[in-house]
């Protein structure tokens, strides 16, 4: 039912670290809703549990349970601000779309069971490598692919993500764009690496089109965003595109590249959300204008956000740069030249929208409202920035796990 290997241990460790960071941030975020803090933290731990099942499943039933535990907890978290219409909308939208995708996942599992007579990924992999694959199996695989693509939010299954990210409470958005995205990618890679590896050629065109569309559209649409959460949602979509590139080149075993990229991305995103939550609270606005003049008002927060943004944009010496480098070099090893060139060009375009935030902080005029940090947030921000710097300087520590 579950198999513990290096992959699952490493990804579970990453998930635990990210959840711990969010956990520390949530004490202050929910300070005026003390009655709800226990429910909220319980659901956070349940989500982590679902993510860990997704990293170590060896049976389709466990995969489904893991995804459902993760998703149902998230529907609740997205809608957890009862009196905020946008939060309600986000929760409901996510719920409807997510259950539809779960339906696809179940239908796919059922068809694969019909073809292979097994839920166990080892048996299914044996069926695939034996040749003689029933067409029913391919349809099942396609449906599972659709469900997984929805969960990782890549084009054309991305429509829910900006709306849900924008409407949810900021901390939940941070949680969704880090832990949940990484959990979905972990399960995606594990499923296709351990189970469908030998029939990868069958879907490689689909994966290629999806990847190209994701990195192009994610980066281009992000250019015109004015809301910071929407900006990070589209940035998350483009990062999902780069991770898809690593999934596509799984023939050379890209688990460590995905792990390194996911660590860098998750840490940098949590760092930028920690700053953003403080700014949102002080300025009572979630637009990029809220960051105007932060460089003068609070140089520490501005510097931390700048470093996180540089890491997300993929500028050395931060982790984001090496993460992209590893993924691109793996993709070239697999002969995906066109996609890699597209990815490099779009990631240069992507630098522009990250710099929009940095420019707002340092070149725009400040107003009188002051932005204060507290001990918990300061600690987390320092941890995130220094970890993403250390990961960028000493990548071998993470790359040698697998």
């Amino acid at each position: 039912m579950m198999r513990v290997d290096n992959f699952s241990v490493a990804f579970s460790g990453l998930a635990i670290v990210l959840s711990a960071l969010i956990f520390v941030l949530s004490a202050d975020f929910y300070h005026n809703e003390e009655k709800h803090i226990s429910d909220y933290l319980a659901i956070l731990v349940f989500t982590l549990c679902g993510a860990m099942i997704m990293f170590s499943f060896s049976n389709m039933a466990m995969l489904f349970l893991g995804i459902e535990i993760l998703s149902i907890s998230l529907y609740i978290m997205a809608g957890s601000k009862q009196h905020d219409v946008r939060s309600n909308e986000a929760g409901f939208k996510y719920f409807l779309m997510g259950s539809f995708a779960s339906g696809f996942l179940l239908f796919g599992i059922a068809l694969i069971y019909g073809a292979t007579n097994s839920f166990h990924i080892g048996n299914i992999a044996a069926y695939v490598s034996a040749g003689q694959i029933s067409p029913m199996f391919y349809v099942g695989m396609l449906m599972m692919l659709v469900a997984m693509l929805f969960k990782v939010a890549v084009v054309p299954f991305h429509f829910w993500s900006p709306d849900v990210y924008e409407g949810s409470p900021a901390l939940v958005t941070a949680f969704m764009s880090t832990l949940v995205k990484i959990a979905a990618f972990g399960a995606f890679y594990r499923l296709f690496y351990l189970c469908f590896f030998d029939s990868l050629n069958y879907i490689v065109i689909i994966l290629g089109v999806v990847t190209a569309a994701t990195i192009i559209l994610g980066n281009l649409v992000a250019l015109s965003q004015t809301n910071f959460k929407r900006l990070l949602a589209y940035s998350g979509i483009s990062h999902a595109g780069y991770l898809m590139l690593a999934v596509m080149s799984m023939k050379t075993g890209t688990a460590s590249a995905i792990f390194y990229y996911a660590s860098g991305y998750g840490i940098a995103t949590i760092g930028s959300f920690a700053v953003a939550i403080l700014v949102f609270k002080a300025m009572k606005s979630e637009n990029i204008e809220a960051f105007n003049g932060l460089g003068k008002k609070n140089p520490f927060l501005a510097a931390a956000l700048t470093m996180s943004m540089l890491s997300l944009a993929g500028i050395p010496p931060f982790a984001g740069f090496l993460g992209k480098y590893y993924i691109f070099s793996e993709a070239i090893k697999n002969g995906l030249f066109g996609l890699t060139i597209t990815a490099i060009i779009t990631s240069i375009i992507g630098v522009y929208y990250y710099f929009k935030v940095i420019l707002a902080m340092y070149t725009k005029e400040a107003d009188e409202t002051s932005v204060q940090s507290n001990i918990a947030y300061t600690t987390i921000i320092i941890v995130c920035v220094s970890v993403s710097l250390l990961l960028g300087l000493f990548p071998d520590k993470l790359m040698n796990i697998f």
Binding site: I43, F46, L65, I69, S73, I76, G91
Partner: protein, 164 residues
Amino acid sequence: MIQYLFFALSALTIISALYVVFSRNPMHSVLSLIVCFFTVAGHYILLNAQFLAIVHIIVYAGAIMVLFLFTVMLLNLNRETEPHKTNWVKIAAVIAAGMLFLTLIASLKMAGLGTYSLPHKSNIGFIQDIGVKLFTDFMLPFEISTILFMSAMIGAVLLAKKEK
């Protein structure tokens, strides 16, 4: 005999499912969904899965459809308040669903399904068999599903509790 029963049930299932989608009146949709659930339960019985059939009727036709009916009545949905979809959405939906339909049909046509005889004398689908399976092979998923329900319950309290 069983074959005729199967065809009759299948026809009924498809007709009622289509009526769910095409009916303009949400009340009729819900009622025909109940018919659809009952016919699916009939299919389960034909496959010798009595327990599944009973649970299906209790859970879906019983609990979930009552919820549906309440929601439809409370929201007072009718033809006038139905939101109008743009043509683009309709075209996109038709193309997407049509392609899925095509894929399914093509693959099932190629699959060349064999004939299966029903295991009349076996105990497959009996409650005892399912219980044994659940507490031996599928013990871990069975236990882990409690986390799912716990999370859903906490969520229901969190979302539905009235603020003072």
